[in-house]
Symmetry: C2
Subunit: 334 residues, 2 copies
């Protein structure tokens, strides 16, 4: 029988977590192990803070997703929120509510993947909470970062005429989820595998958000946790503008495109509505365009696509083959 | 049929939360509604940050505890952690994983009680996360505060010879839980009601922690989330000392005392092991004693008791009627 978290006990688990997190950086005078963690704020910057949860059987299934992927994704979705603010992530708290039979090896793998992504992004794991769950595994993460006051990217700074740019590609995470829902984690062809990998281990666009914000190269930004249609609609609403997206310009992930073709699904609709891509959507003013493209060019091969624009007229539209249709909704959690 | 959170939908719930939280204070340039919240750090202070969760059927039962009590307690336990650091609480994030049938009225009551305690302690609700839970209600709270670098209270500053002081009284929360476990939320006598109230709506010793820390009037501090035996043991371990508690000096709550007498339970053992009192345990050096008592005197009728001392010899002991016995353990979450 594999060892479980229950057999280890609470204090041993915290000690295990602390060892895996490693010693905190100099600007964390007190990390894991006291009543709270202590962090030296970044000089001249605001604190930027976000929280996001992954809940078993809502956001993942343990039969489908390895503990390592769960740990990675729990941090990545929070990194994406800070990236959308143009903030540099610094410190994180990991709260786990775990079934008593949760294997100790899975606990270790989850924490290791979390810490490993944190190390890559220079984010210190400074605290959190461990408790028992009588039901699903719940992974709740808080992420603190820093941003200079006039360098913040909010959702509300967009203006009519500003163009919308999208990093990377969309649709693959939703296609990955559809593959898992159809067949579980069985062996599969390359396109399905690529989509599942995007669903399980999203890459937050941290560097891109920070580069664009530092150079004040966008007027607004939001990440795509709930899909492009949702993000474009919310950015436009917060900015009190309308929005038009151009169907032909949408960067559908090639594997998702091929998967959709085989599955008889419209890739555009799928790419618009599908969540969990964790790309960034920017609105860019006419005088910011050059700086924006230069900032993106500093992001190691990341592509951006111009996917639409904000409008003075209210309304959220998709233009496809010359026809306008309502943009529709993304994923909702209830 | 009562309205549920599912009938409201995610965006409406966030809007509801935002309205209940009210407008953020001036030092929160961006509160609920963007990808992350933005907080201006307190001048010349460290950020102090903690997270703690309440999980249904682990930390509470919905049949026993009103949604308001759950909301109050979820913030109170985090306030207690910051109090134990001597930090002033400032901003909080509330993450809820909710069953779809969770009544909208309960959502409102939970949030209102959370916000109401926050208002009293000048803590702004700045963000969080709402998601569905296929199992228990999970309330995960992150609390940020501030403390001046040389005014922090850690667990590790205790030295041999330092005396241990405890705020308030112990045992009532555990007695309240025992009453609920025995009879559920039925009508009862005054002592049981008093104990249940302490279990459901603990009062964090925020002012006391801050006053003592500001005056550097203690060498170490920890809160009593998992009971006095656990806290004393952990404070001593972190300070690399032994500890002796004096059974006769323990401030057992009078209602808990009477309840224990009737239930045929030893009130001392019960008071030591019982968790969730959220009192503060301080170690106080000989030259800090006067300042410590003066700081406590500024806390509106809060009492403190001298319950033991740290020792040079390793070992954790309880002295009772002249006999030493091992201190034993508090509550463990697994």
């Amino acid at each position: 029988m594999p060892l479980t978290i229950q057999s280890a006990g609470e204090h041993a688990l915290i000690e295990r977590l602390r060892r895996r997190a490693g010693p905190p950086p100099a600007w964390v005078p007190l990390g894991i192990g006291d009543d709270a963690a202590v962090i030296q704020p970044a000089r001249g910057a605001f604190d930027v803070v976000t929280a996001d949860s992954l809940v078993e059987n809502v956001h993942f299934r343990r039969e489908w997703m390895s503990a390592g992927a769960i740990g990675h994704k729990a941090l990545a979705v929070n990194l994406s929120d800070l990236a959308a603010m143009g903030a540099t992530p610094r410190a994180t708290l990991l709260s786990l509510a775990m079934p008593v039979e949760f294997p100790l090896a899975d606990f270790d793998a989850l924490v290791d993947a979390f810490v490993s992504l944190g190390d890559r992004e220079k984010v210190a794991l400074v605290g959190g909470n461990l408790t028992r769950s009588p039901g699903p595994l719940v992974v709740d993460v808080t992420l603190l970062g820093a941003a200079r006051p006039r360098r913040l990217l909010t959702r509300s700074g967009g203006r009519p005429g500003h163009e919308l740019y999208l990093t990377g590609s969309i649709g693959a995470a939703a296609a990955g989820l559809a593959c898992l829902e159809a067949d579980g984690p069985a062996n599969r062809e390359a396109d399905a595998m690529a989509c599942i990998a995007r669903y399980e281990r999203p890459e937050a666009r941290v560097r891109c958000g920070v580069q664009v914000a530092r150079n004040r190269a966008a007027s607004a930004c939001m990440d795509l946790s709930d899909g492009l249609a949702d993000a474009a609609g919310q950015l436009a609403s917060a900015s009190r503008t309308g929005v038009i997206l151009d169907a032909e310009a949408l960067p559908i992930h090639p594997s998702a495109c091929r998967w959709a073709a085989k599955a008889g699904v419209d890739p555009i609709t799928f790419g618009l509505a599908g969540g969990e891509d964790y790309e960034l959507l920017f609105s860019v003013g006419p005088r910011q365009r050059r700086a924006f493209l230069a900032a993106v060019a500093r992001c190691h091969g990341l592509t951006v696509s111009r996917v639409g624009r904000l409008t003075a007229e209210a309304g959220q539209w998709l233009v496809r083959a010359g026809e306008s249709q309502p943009l529709g909704k993304g994923f909702t959690h209830f």
